[in-house]
């Protein structure tokens, strides 16, 4: 009986992966199809939808906005994430658990509620909705991911190295810059990449909190209403897919390297 189940499990796992990837695969397939309607059988191969993309000023604006928002949000959330992760892993202080669960709370709240509550506050304060308000929202939802990635980097970090540096006469800032920072650099870069990717793909916050300037997902949302624009959206989606994939692969490689580095010096082999 056991062996029977064990025999079926790999097949199940394979089917599960197929189920996960199959819908995503259709985006690139139909993005190079000559027909404007995504259906089988495929008509013919074309790069037309891709070459049209740079000729759409609205799209280029949206892409630039997304890039700016993503860079700002990932920098801010990583800086705030470093503060939190360092405090949580290095210090013991009253209310540590409460503080860290508050910081992680955006993960377990429906996003639409976060978005509308921020919207109310910003409108009540008389803040003009803009890309800046989008950044504020994105930072809020990126922080939990940053903290998770950075916690992994900071944990098991050998404190005696910092002590040694302090004993050898470094100031605490010097120790941080010359000992701590290089050790956790991969985790920091990985946090930057992860939060950039989240911000790049995030729709709800951007939809509610933006003014007249839109980010890429909001632009795509607007395009989805027109059936004729679908192939262009599919092409754009494919490019975003490839971009996210590359960024995340780099983030994953760095995260593993960071883990290995911490393990080999800290000796905390899990």
């Amino acid at each position: 009986m056991r062996s029977k189940v064990a025999k079926w499990l790999p097949i199940y796992a394979f089917l599960y992966i197929v189920f996960l990837y199959l819908p995503v695969i259709f985006l690139p397939i139909f993005s190079v199809n000559t027909s404007a309607v995504p259906k089988f059988p495929l008509m013919g191969f074309t790069w037309k939808w891709y070459t049209d993309l740079p000729n759409t000023p609205a799209l280029l604006d949206a892409a630039w906005n997304s890039l700016m928002v993503g860079v700002t949000a990932s920098l801010l959330s990583t800086v705030l994430g470093i503060c939190a992760a360092r405090a949580i892993t290095r210090y013991r202080f009253p209310g540590r658990t409460a503080a860290s669960s508050l910081i992680m709370a955006p993960l377990v709240l429906p996003e639409i509620i976060l978005a509308v509550s921020l919207l109310i506050v910003m409108l009540s304060l008389g803040l003009e909705l803009s890309l800046f308000t989008v950044v504020l929202g994105h930072v809020l939802i990126c922080i939990p991911y940053s903290v998770t990635v950075l916690n992994a980097g900071f944990e098991g970090f050998d404190r005696s190295l910092e002590e040694a540096s302090a004993d050898l006469g470094e100031t605490s800032f010097g120790t941080f810059r010359r000992v701590t920072l290089p050790m956790v650099a991969p985790a920091i870069i990985s946090s930057l990449l992860v939060s950039f990717t989240i911000s790049l793909d995030e729709f709800i916050m951007a939809f509610f909190l933006t003014g007249t300037d839109v980010t890429l997902p909001v632009y795509i949302w607007g395009q989805l209403r027109f059936a004729a624009k679908l192939p262009g959206v599919l092409a754009l989606g494919t490019l975003l897919l490839v971009g996210s994939f590359i960024l995340l692969t780099i983030a994953e490689i760095l995260r593993r390297r960071a883990e290995r580095r911490v393990q080999s010096t800290g000796g905390v082999l899990a």
Binding site: L20, K39, C83, F93, R96, I113, S117, T197
Partner: protein, 305 residues
């Protein structure tokens, strides 16, 4: 080592200094976490409090009346349209989270018990689709389930149906399928983590003591992995209740959920207090549902053992 090198200065330090040092350690930790904490306070706690306040106010066109009233809650809970939307959102999220967890468990089990040295590669493979744009993943289901979609043209090509079926897209089932796919990866991870923690010697012990593989799974592995099952259920259920994109893109008229009503009140309908009351009710019900799921599963786990 340092004490010896620096001579007597440290040895002579008064005792109070040590407790100061301890306090300053606490103070340093608090100071370090305070920017992030402040951010969460200003942009998370304060807005949620504001929304709770708003839900007890009322609005007449553009003026907000700040006298305490339960009117919004009465409307939200008794008007059939809102009641239906709430119930449907809860139903969809419950179904989606149950399906994702049931589908994810065998995979998590396989990776944990038979993954060998490829464990992290498996996990990476599973998480990649999750990181791709949510909007695009939902859209690809629209491409699959649509009138001219992949499923219809495929079925017609195979001669199973003669004309495109309209029954795939724009209904609650489409919402359930899309959400299940969107959250599939998220359910695997917590279950995998808790399966990793299961002490393998306990399973051996159960087998040695005469339990068959199914009995030892039901009495050892499954109960020990329940924390992962619970968090997987919650991690899927909580965001899906308030999902906005999927019902809008693939739900059609029959698949509308509460998020659409909340959006309408805040954007076009411009009745903030009602929108706030709907948000607060959604949050409350999600919390209650989460708590009851935790309770029921814990009880069931105890019963099995």
């Amino acid at each position: 080592m340092t004490a010896a090198a620096e001579g007597t200065t440290i040895a002579q330090a008064p005792r109070t200094k040590r407790s100061n040092l301890l306090q300053s350690e606490q103070a340093q930790g608090l100071a370090l976490i305070s920017p992030t904490l402040l951010y969460a306070m200003v942009l998370l706690v304060a807005p949620i409090l504001v929304i709770v306040f708003y839900s007890f106010w009322s609005q007449d066109y553009l003026t907000v009346d700040r006298t305490f009233t339960l009117e919004q809650y009465r409307v939200a809970l008794t008007e059939p349209i809102y009641r239906d939307l709430l119930l449907r959102s809860l139903w969809v999220s419950l179904v989606v989270s149950l399906i994702t967890v049931v589908l994810a468990y065998p995979l998590a089990y396989y990776i944990s018990f038979h993954g060998g040295s490829y464990k992290s590669l498996w996990l990476f493979l599973i998480t990649i689709p999750f990181w791709t744009s949510y909007l695009l993943r939902v859209m690809s289901w629209k491409v699959i389930l649509g009138y001219n979609g992949v499923l219809n043209s495929g079925l017609m090509g195979l001669g199973i149906i003669d004309e495109p079926s309209t029954s795939f897209l724009y209904n609650t089932n489409a919402v359930v399928i899309t959400l299940t796919h969107a959250w599939a990866a998220f359910a695997v991870l917590p279950i995998f983590v808790s399966l990793e923690k299961v002490d393998r010697t306990l399973i051996e012990a159960a087998t040695d003591l005469g339990d068959g593989p199914i009995r030892s799974f039901l009495r050892v592995t499954l109960p020990l992995s329940l924390p992962g099952v619970i968090s997987a259920l919650l991690i899927v259920m909580i965001p899906t209740v308030g999902d906005f994109v999927t019902p809008k893109l693939v739900g059609g008229k029959d698949g509308v959920m509460i998020a659409t009503a909340i959006e309408t009140q805040f954007k076009r309908g411009a009745n903030w207090p009602l929108g706030a009351a709907l948000s607060v009710i959604t949050m409350t019900i999600v919390t209650l549902m989460a708590a009851s799921i935790v309770f029921v599963i814990r009880q069931a786990g105890r019963r099995v053992r």
